[in-house]
Symmetry: C2
Subunit: 397 residues, 2 copies
Amino acid sequence: MKVLVLGGDGFCGWPTALHLSAQGHEVTIVDNLARRCIDVELEVDSLTPISPMGVRIEVWKELTGRDIGFINLDLAQEYDRLVDVLLNERPDAVVHFAEQRAAPYSMRSPKAKRYTVDNNVNGTHNLLCAIVQTGLDISVVHLGTMGVYGYGWSGTAPIPEGYLTVKVPTPDGDLDREILHPANPGSVYHMTKTLDQLLFAFYAKNDGLRNTARHHGIVWGTQTPQTALDERLINRFDYDGDYGTVLNRFLMQAAIGHPLTVHGTGGQTRAFIHIRDTVRCVEIALNNPPKRGDQPSVFNQVTETYRVRDLAELISQKTGVEVANLPNPRKEAAENDLIVTRDRFLALGLEPTTLSEGLLEEVRDISSKYAHRADTSKIIARSVWNAGMETSPDLMR
Amino acid sequence: MKVLVLGGDGFCGWPTALHLSAQGHEVTIVDNLARRCIDVELEVDSLTPISPMGVRIEVWKELTGRDIGFINLDLAQEYDRLVDVLLNERPDAVVHFAEQRAAPYSMRSPKAKRYTVDNNVNGTHNLLCAIVQTGLDISVVHLGTMGVYGYGWSGTAPIPEGYLTVKVPTPDGDLDREILHPANPGSVYHMTKTLDQLLFAFYAKNDGLRNTARHHGIVWGTQTPQTALDERLINRFDYDGDYGTVLNRFLMQAAIGHPLTVHGTGGQTRAFIHIRDTVRCVEIALNNPPKRGDQPSVFNQVTETYRVRDLAELISQKTGVEVANLPNPRKEAAENDLIVTRDRFLALGLEPTTLSEGLLEEVRDISSKYAHRADTSKIIARSVWNAGMETSPDLMR
């Protein structure tokens, strides 16, 4: 299969591109390197020493004999070039990761809020519009987020995969209707993913586009079998307050002896998935596209759920590093339960990687190895959901 | 009350600005004159001879002694200036009409689709983001559309005002939940209004912004008491295939003896409201904002519903002009029923203007008076929802 990986330089995109290439797919990465530029803006860097795209692709070719193409293109800004790329490459499918993906960054400033909306909405819309313009039958596999659902909305009912059947009262009695699960985003970033859903639904209905959304949990881990082949293929590892995700941050904090930063009570229950499973899920989704005329296909890309404070305690017990409860910079419920349906990927053959000791240690080893690269002043989250929610300087250690 | 009217040069915006000024509010129009520029692009013009903004404001001052301010600003592109305008003007409320509002135009071309998404989503988001940045407590009254609901979704149940209470099945039995009515947009334009809803919901939840959506039906009529004061204050009248709306188009077609163009069977049932009621509804919404912390307030701004072929027959009978059934350029159900709840504006004192003979004639008189300005080659709709839906040239008369 010929596949374009939009955002193929990022944390999920790069290992996905390698996995698909390793499976024999013909892969071209399309990326404007925005994620690296945001590192420059935030004056932070991946803990792991990621190579430039040119080196990455060259090393992959050297080790495996496989070619990966690279096109530097801004999806949200360069529409005409995008159309040309689709017409020249004629891909069977596009994997779309090319969005600003950090909730804290999306709340950081008016500029960051506006960039997130502009980049994510126009990027997704350009892709759909361009596919219609070319007349090509290209299936799109999109990276959504569990955050489109909000948390704890439906009481004891597990969160379904995208669609929910509800009873609508009518004068003639209750009517069963399948609806897109109501949106309850918790940040500007998550909001853009709820907008994406409506774009996908419209273009499926009006133009018969074949779209798949994977609503993922928090991705943890760093390496896949492919990125581990050579240090020059290493995946990025974000530990900063904006882009670092909770479990990877704890493991890195443990590795350098920094207190484990829990926001609020740590009563938030979140869904998790290892990066190895993320890349497998993408391939499963590519191999099982919806039919023309179907509504978008939705998978929940989740393997486990944990409460944040339980994760912190687990790692604290293993490592002796203390837990630090900091003010929560997010506007969210202090405590929530989370039950997630994730039957579709399992039915299609996913064997979940769970939070095992071995894997935790692998990540911690990576953190230890590159601990000297850490700027500890970047660990505490500084982006806040409302003015006045900032952590006071005396809590910043 | 100090009010900014964004999009105050348009078909709804201009009479709204005059109505609010006449009621004693302090009004400033913010508009980039985009609607006039689209006329230039489409090589068409308002049937009525609308004056430039400078003349409009000068004449209003001359006749009433009242000042209306005007700021030429692109809401979607000039964020920093928008912040300055809010800080300088310190309005109590903003009425937001500043979006590309024609469904056919939004389906016309990739460029028009992309402009509609970029302009409407970034415009609305810039406004909300700027209000948060300034810290001012500004209520926003937005122009939504009945099209966010789709048609006939809920069987015999009337379309509620924004929110719907449904039963969600859980292991512990059905759970009552109030949800935003599921979105089912029929064009890229309508889609942008479903995105707007999620922006408003997020900023209400996260930042306490006070937002009101008015989901309007098709606006008909031309004049309000204020625009009728002087020809130089006249409101625009669109009759072309992209911007003309169905009832006004029929009346104009009747006035010039052009067959009444019904798309498909004309079995579409649509909601209508007269421009006089539109401007009153805006004022009612301004006077009844939600409280800080409330979810967005939603009104259905509709006074009557009609089936399109019934409207055509009504006007055909009155005028002797024949009905022409043309292929439907829209992807939509051939026939639909429509029952709309519209209790909130009525409860707050709206006395609906209905489709009376006198008013129909008033519009037809306007059409007759300016019939010499019509370019009849612009009447047939040419923008189509999918390639291949074009009306064949032999049907274009």
